[in-house]
C-alpha cells in the first residue's frame, strides 16, 4: 500500500522511477571524437555483427555475411533475410540468426541445422549468439513481438519480452536462462558458467546463471547497450552502445499515450526515439527543445543518435570510451572486436567499419 502511494507521489512530482533524468557521460565516458577520427576500414551499407574466432573475422551487411581479409572482403554466405546475429566457433562452425526466420548453422559438426523455435516460441528476433562450446549455443531473443528491424517499435511499446536460451545442438534441447528481459542485445561468456547480457531498454548489463538469480553488473548506462565482446587479454570487455539517452527520449518513454499515437500516425524515421543515424530531413520534428533556424539545426537540439564503445574492466566498470559525438557520422555502433591492437567497430548508422588504434594499457 505504501509502495503504491509512493509510486503515485513520485509520478506526481517527477521523482524516483518517474524522474526524467539521464546519467551523465563523464569520468570514463567523457566524450571524445576517437570513433569519428579513426580510420575507416571499410565503407559498406549497415555493417553489423562483427565476430572474430582467432582466425576468421566476419561481419554481416543486410542479408550477406562477409569475411574480412588482408586482400579485402569476401562474401561467405548469403540469405533471403537480413542477418541479425552471428557467432563463430574456432572449430569452424558459424551460427547465423535470421530476422523473423530463426537460426542456421553452417560448418562444423552441426552444418545445415536450422532452429525455428526455442521452448515452443518462434525465433522471431535473434539479436545475439554465442558458442560456449562446439555443441552449445547461447541465443538472445530480443523480443517476442517484434523482429529486429522493428526495434524502435519494441522500445516505444515498452516491451520486456526478450529471453536468453541455451541450446544443446546435439539434441536440440533448449533451456531458458532468463525471461522477460527488455531487449537482450549482447552476450558475453562469464567465467562462472553464466553469461553477461546487455539489456538495452533497461540500460544495464546483467549476469545470468542457470542456478542463480540475475545480478546487475552495470546499471544506468548513458545509452542503449548493444553487443559485448571480450578484450584481447580476456580481463575485460568491450560494450557497443548504439544510441544515446536524453531527457527528451526519457520523457517520451514516460508518456505511453504519446508513444502509441506516434506509432500509429508517424513514420518511424521521424519518431522521437533513439536512432542509428541522424536524419537530415526537414520533416524531422522540432524535438521539443530542438530548433531549426535559417536551415541550421541548432546545436542544442537533443541528438537521437551517437557512436559509443566502452571498455569495461573485469568488474564491468567503465575504464575508457570512444565516441562519435552528435555532430559526427559514425553513429549506431552495434558491435566491436579487438584484433591485433586495434578495435574494429561497426557503425551501422554510419555505413562503415572503423579501426580504432588502442593505446597501451587499454
Amino acid at each position: 500500500m505504501i509502495a503504491l502511494v509512493k509510486r503515485a507521489f513520485d509520478a506526481w512530482r517527477g521523482s524516483g522511477p518517474s524522474a526524467v533524468t539521464v546519467p551523465p557521460m563523464d569520468g570514463a565516458l567523457r566524450p571524445n571524437q576517437a570513433i569519428e577520427e579513426a580510420p575507416v576500414l571499410l565503407e559498406i551499407a549497415a555493417p553489423d555483427n562483427l565476430v572474430h574466432d582467432g582466425t576468421r573475422l566476419l561481419f554481416s551487411s543486410g542479408s550477406t555475411v562477409y569475411a574480412m581479409k588482408a586482400t579485402g572482403t569476401e562474401s561467405v554466405a548469403a540469405f533471403d533475410r537480413p542477418v541479425s546475429a552471428l557467432a563463430l566457433h574456432p572449430g569452424g562452425a558459424m551460427a547465423i540468426g535470421l530476422e523473423g526466420r530463426g537460426l542456421e548453422l553452417r560448418g562444423g559438426q552441426h552444418d545445415g541445422k536450422v532452429i525455428t523455435e526455442l521452448g515452443g516460441r518462434p525465433v522471431l528476433c535473434p539479436t545475439a549468439l554465442l558458442f560456449t562450446d562446439e555443441n552449445t549455443l547461447l541465443v538472445a531473443l530480443g523480443s517476442q513481438q517484434n523482429a529486429p528491424e522493428r526495434w524502435k517499435h519494441d522500445l516505444m511499446q515498452r516491451n520486456a519480452s526478450g529471453s536468453v536460451w541455451q541450446v544443446d545442438l546435439t539434441n536440440g534441447k533448449a533451456t531458458c536462462f532468463a525471461d522477460r528481459l527488455a531487449y537482450p542485445y549482447g552476450l558475453l561468456a562469464a567465467g562462472d558458467g553464466g553469461v553477461v547480457v546487455s539489456e538495452s531498454w533497461r540500460n544495464q548489463l546483467i549476469r545470468i546463471h542457470p542456478n542463480r538469480k540475475p545480478k546487475v553488473e552495470l546499471s544506468d548506462i548513458s545509452g542503449y547497450p548493444a553487443r559485448l565482446a571480450p578484450t584481447a587479454d580476456g580481463a575485460g570487455s568491450w560494450l557497443a552502445v548504439f544510441a544515446p539517452r536524453s531527457q527528451l527520449l526519457e520523457f517520451v518513454l514516460h508518456e505511453p499515450d504519446y508513444c502509441d499515437q506516434m506509432i500509429q500516425e508517424i513514420d518511424p524515421q521521424f519518431w522521437i526515439a533513439p536512432s542509428l543515424s541522424a536524419t537530415q530531413s526537414f520533416l524531422e520534428p522540432m524535438q521539443l527543445g530542438g530548433l531549426k533556424q535559417l536551415g541550421i539545426l541548432k546545436p542544442w537540439a537533443p541528438t537521437r543518435s551517437y557512436g559509443l564503445v566502452v571498455n569495461l574492466d573485469g568488474a564491468f566498470e567503465p575504464q575508457v570510451s570512444f565516441h562519435s559525438r552528435a555532430d559526427g557520422r559514425r553513429h549506431g555502433i552495434t558491435s566491436c572486436v579487438e584484433v591485433s591492437g586495434r578495435l574494429l567497430a561497426t557503425s551501422k548508422g554510419g555505413n562503415a567499419i572503423v579501426s580504432i588504434p588502442l593505446a597501451a594499457g587499454v
Binding site: G16, A19, V22
Partner: protein, 498 residues
C-alpha cells in the same frame, strides 16, 4: 620621522600560555605590510593588540612615536587604526548602508540621503553591492566588501585586513588589490594577513613572519620567494609536500561509480546539474562563488532541498536517494565537510571530545542511551592522534584551537562517521601551509583507501594538484571535465567564466 606603529617586545599570555612572545614590529607610513605565519603563530593576537581588541601582557606600543595602550577598539579607531576581521562583524538584520554608517548616525537621519551616499561610496570603491540589501541576504564575498568599505569610510590611517581575500573571487581579488594600492597612494598603511603566499608576494612592500608566537624575520618583499617564506613559517621545507601529486604520480583509475547526480535542480542556484563520483578517486570541483557547487553538495547530503517538482535524481550505488535531513545521508555513508566551519562545522564552546561524540551519536553507530565518558575520550584520543590535532588535551574547547586544527576537528567529526563518500568544501580555506600539507595528505590517503572523495575549492593550484579528475561548475551546473594532464589554470578559469 617616527614609524606609524612600533611595537617593542610585546607579549600576550592567555591563562599563562603565551600567544606571542617578545615580538617587535614596525609599520611605516603608506606601506603594505604582510603578516605571515601558520595558524596559531600569533598574527591575529598581534593585530588585535594594535586595534585595541586586546591588551598586551607586557611590552610597549608606540603610535606616531607616542606610547599607546588601547583598552578598547574605539580608542584605536580614534587614532585611525581600523581592523577588518576574518569573521565579519556586520549586523545581519540591517541593510548595507545602515552597517556602513553604524555608530555615525545623526539624531535625525535622512534615509534616502544615507542610501545615496552609501551607493556612491561603494561605487567609488568598485564594489558591486546593493546598499539597500539586508546583510543577512549577502554572500560571504559581499559581506567582506561591506567590511572593507566600512574600514575605508572611517578615514583610517591604518587598516588591518585579516584574511580579506579568503572568500573573494579572482575578479573581486583583483579589485581589492587595486583598492589597496589606491589606499596606499593616499598614505594609508595596511597590515595584510593572508595564507595565500602568492598574494603577499604580489601586493606587499614588506613581509613579517611569525612562528609559534615569536618573530622570525622582517624584510622587503623583493628579498623573499615562496620557499623562503615557507621555510621561515614552518621551520622546514614544505614545498615538496604542498600541492604535490600523490605517491603513484598520475591520476588514480576510477573505481565503482558511487554517486550519480542526474539533472539536479534547485531554483536558480543549481540548474540541471549532472555528474558522477567514483570510488578511489579525488574529484575536484572548481567554480567561482555562486556557481552552485556548495548548493549541489548540500542537496546531496540532505542539508538543502532540491526542487520539489522535477528536481532531478541522486543515485548512491544505483539507488535513488532523497534526504530530508543530513542524518539520513550520514547513515548512508555520505559526509559533507562544510566550507564555513565556524558556523556549521562545530560547537565552538564544546570540547573536541564532545564534538566528536556528538557526530558519532548522529551517525547511528553509538550503542545504548548513555554515553560513557571513557568511550568519548578514547574516541577523541584516537582522532587527535590520527589527524595530528594539536591541542592541550581532548578537553580543549574548539574555539581555543588554531584554524588548521579546527579544520582537522571538522574532518575528524566526519571521518568518525565512517563515510563511503566524503565531500570537502574548501578544506584548506583559512588554514596555514603546514596544516594544508597535512590535510592534503589525509585526503589522498582517503582516496587510496577506496573512498569516493570530492574536493570543492576556489583555489586553482589546490584543484590542479590534488584532483584525479577536475569538474568545472558554472551557473549551477558542471560545464567541463578535465583530466589533470590536460588541465591548466587558464583552461579551467575559461570554462568557469565563459
Amino acid at each position: 620621522m617616527a614609524a606609524l606603529i612600533e611595537m617593542r617586545n610585546v607579549t600576550k599570555e592567555y591563562r599563562g600560555v603565551p600567544a606571542i612572545k617578545n615580538v617587535s614590529f614596525v609599520l611605516e607610513r603608506g606601506e603594505i605590510h604582510a603578516l605571515l605565519g601558520e595558524n596559531g603563530a600569533g598574527k591575529s593576537t598581534l593585530t588585535k593588540i594594535m586595534a585595541g581588541v586586546t591588551t598586551p601582557t607586557s611590552g610597549e606600543m608606540l603610535v606616531d612615536g607616542k606610547p599607546a595602550q588601547y583598552q578598547k577598539p574605539a580608542e584605536a579607531l580614534r587614532d585611525g587604526i581600523n581592523m577588518v576581521f576574518q569573521e565579519n562583524s556586520l549586523v545581519p538584520s540591517m541593510t548595507v548602508a545602515q552597517n556602513l554608517y553604524l555608530g555615525d548616525e545623526k539624531f535625525f537621519n535622512r534615509l534616502r540621503g544615507l542610501y545615496i551616499a552609501a551607493q556612491q561610496f561603494l561605487q567609488s570603491l568598485n564594489f558591486n553591492v546593493d546598499p539597500w540589501a539586508t546583510v543577512a541576504t549577502l554572500g560571504a564575498a559581499s559581506k567582506q566588501m561591506v567590511e572593507i568599505a566600512r574600514a575605508v569610510r572611517h578615514n583610517a590611517r591604518v587598516i588591518i585586513f585579516d584574511e580579506p581575500t579568503a572568500s573573494l573571487t579572482p575578479e573581486e581579488k583583483h579589485h581589492f588589490f587595486s583598492l589597496m594600492q589606491r589606499l596606499k597612494e593616499r598614505g594609508v598603511s595596511i597590515v595584510f594577513i593572508s595564507h595565500a603566499l602568492e598574494e603577499a608576494l604580489e601586493v606587499s612592500d614588506r613581509i613579517t613572519i611569525l612562528r609559534d608566537g615569536e618573530h622570525v624575520i622582517t624584510d622587503a618583499t623583493a628579498n623573499f620567494d615562496r620557499d623562503k617564506i615557507i621555510r621561515a613559517m614552518v621551520g622546514r621545507n614544505l614545498s615538496e609536500q604542498l600541492y604535490h601529486r600523490h605517491e603513484g604520480g598520475g591520476a588514480r583509475r576510477p573505481g565503482k561509480r558511487v554517486l550519480s547526480v542526474q539533472n539536479l535542480s534547485m531554483g536558480k542556484l543549481v540548474r540541471n546539474n549532472s555528474f558522477s563520483i567514483y570510488a578511489g578517486q579525488i574529484t575536484g570541483i572548481f567554480g567561482l562563488i555562486g556557481s552552485g557547487r556548495t548548493e549541489t553538495a548540500k542537496i546531496i547530503t540532505g542539508v538543502a532541498k532540491r526542487d520539489f517538482f522535477h528536481g532531478g535524481e541522486v543515485r548512491l550505488f544505483g539507488r535513488s536517494i532523497r534526504y530530508r535531513v543530513p542524518r539520513q545521508a550520514v547513515m548512508d555513508g555520505i559526509c559533507y565537510v562544510t566550507e564555513d566551519r565556524k558556523i556549521e562545522g562545530f560547537f565552538e564552546t564544546m570540547s573536541i571530545a564532545q564534538n566528536l561524540q556528538l557526530n558519532e551519536l548522529s551517525s547511528g553507530q553509538s550503542k545504548g542511551f548513555i554515553v560513557r565518558m571513557s568511550d568519548m575520550y578514547s574516541l577523541a584520543e584516537e582522532w587527535t592522534k590520527r589527524l595530528n590535532i594539536r591541542a592541550i588535551n581532548a578537553n580543549a574547547r574548539v574555539i581555543e584551537l588554531s584554524g588548521g586544527n579546527q579544520q582537522k576537528v571538522v574532518i575528524a567529526k566526519s571521518l568518525a562517521q565512517k563515510p563511503r563518500v566524503i565531500i570537502f568544501d574548501e578544506p584548506t580555506r583559512g588554514v596555514d601551509v603546514g596544516a594544508i600539507a597535512e590535510i592534503h595528505q589525509l585526503i589522498n590517503r582517503l582516496a587510496d583507501e577506496g573512498l569516493a572523495v570530492v574536493v570543492i575549492s576556489s583555489y586553482l593550484p589546490e584543484i590542479l594538484n590534488i584532483s584525479d579528475r577536475i569538474l568545472v561548475s558554472q551557473r549551477g551546473r558542471i560545464v567541463e571535465e578535465f583530466t589533470p594532464d590536460q588541465a591548466t589554470e587558464e583552461k579551467i578559469m575559461y570554462a568557469a567564466v565563459h
